[in-house]
Symmetry: C2
Subunit: 232 residues, 2 copies
DNA sequence: GAGAATTTTGACCAATTGGAAAAACGTTAG
DNA sequence: CTAACGTTTTTCCAATTGGTCAAAATTCTC
């Protein structure tokens, strides 16, 4: 039992200490399998709707065995969210104030859309957490996330003041990029249903990319005098 | 028990028959209270994560009493979804092929954004259902919804062919309107967290409205020659 | 106000859930 | 080999869950 105690605090990550990487090869393997299975289950059922049994089955192990690696359900979820946010914000982090605004934004959109295509479960996990009021995530939102967005919104505003970009609220610009790209992961069923079986290959992401490029480039490019149809 | 039987099939809506409006005043009242409470709970926890006890408590009645009006949990959810889709699609239904494209789309966006502001729970309920793969909704998506969207996409394409609108994929145009507007309901926590306590009044919806108007009007207005920054 | 119909309650149930304990099993260093 | 350690399984538990049922309380109709 001492062994268990020792392992648990190492494996699961103590309450106070940062979650350490697992030591042995087998620990890393199992933990990864659990996290992958949990991502699957949490992302489709949300935290409350997901059961440990489901996760254990998806990971191909027994419930107590799973609980040996993550002593509580919440621990798994926390680890997923923590790992997620990092990768999720990477594209925004890479937006470079020194770069050209239009290509920077264009490539930000493209990368976000690629993430929606390649990591839909991560997107859904995050969406689920937001829908539920982010009970286990508010801190990160108001800390890490807000800090980063504030910074990048400043960058965008700078571009606008230099006349390199049409003037618009930078925060809502970022929101609209999040919304339009993540939509293809979060509302995948709906998108598929509407597009029907014909247009349904992975080609829908290419169509989306083309459309979003047009929307945002014309919506944001400078040098268009206020058109005949826009009364701001 | 005969009485109960009779009431149940009337109140809950039989399997085969369309759900009838409740007869007595008291039935209507209670059912509405239940549906309202259920909307609250389902929209934040999803179907699996919501419990009848929670709903009953939110509705201010005992669980068996609630089950007297809706014999199963799924029945409540079904009713909510069914009622929802109608109101949810109303703005799109009103988009008039005979009208002027730009104002039509502009007012579609405005109305959708108002719905996100005034009915966030409905938006979240729907989002939750989509995230979970729409197990109880696919039929409607592939039926009612697809039909309507196909029709309106046709209308939009018509406008584009008449040169009244910039050429773009009408389906993805509709998706992007859904995504950007519903985002303010579904990701409300995130939006609030990022905007911070200062900019946090209901004014954020006005900002969003202004921003989205600009984005979509410039992104879609005709008559702009392909700008210097867009290589399609 | 009596009688019927409707509504509400309290007690109960079987299944599921998150989790604990400890014994059994493997693995590996000495 | 064997003792120590790490891993897995079996068994178990209390709480929660969706739902039933009959009796009690209330409301409605005449």
């Amino acid at each position: 039992m001492l062994a268990q105690e020792a392992v648990r605090s190492d494996v699961g990550g103590g309450v106070a200490e940062a979650p350490r990487r697992p030591r042995t090869r087998i620990q890393r393997e199992k933990q990864d399998r659990i996290l992958d299975a949990a991502l699957e289950v949490f992302s489709t059922h949300g935290f409350r709707g997901a059961t440990i049994d489901q996760i254990a089955e998806a990971a191909g192990m027994s419930k107590p065995n799973l609980l040996y690696y993550f002593p509580r359900k919440e621990e798994i979820h926390k680890r997923l969210i923590a790992g997620l946010l990092d990768m999720w914000l990477a594209p925004l982090r890479e937006m470079d104030a020194a770069g050209d605004p239009i290509p920077e934004i264009r490539s930000y959109i493209r990368r976000k859309l690629e993430m929606a295509r390649d990591f839909p479960r991560e997107s859904r996990l995050f969406a689920n957490e937001m829908l539920q009021g982010a009970p286990r995530t508010v801190d990160m939102l108001e800390g890490e996330l807000k800090t980063l967005v504030d910074e990048k919104a400043g960058v965008i505003r700078g571009w606008m003041e230099q006349g390199k970009l049409s003037r618009a609220d930078p925060y809502h610009l970022i929101f609209s990029i999040w919304a339009t790209t993540q939509h293809y992961a979060d509302f995948d069923v709906q998108v598929r249903a509407v597009l029907g079986p014909n247009r349904n290959g992975e080609g829908r992401f290419d169509d989306a990319a083309r459309y979003l490029e047009q929307l945002f480039m014309f919506g944001l490019a400078p040098s268009h005098s206020a058109g005949p149809n826009f009364r701001g």
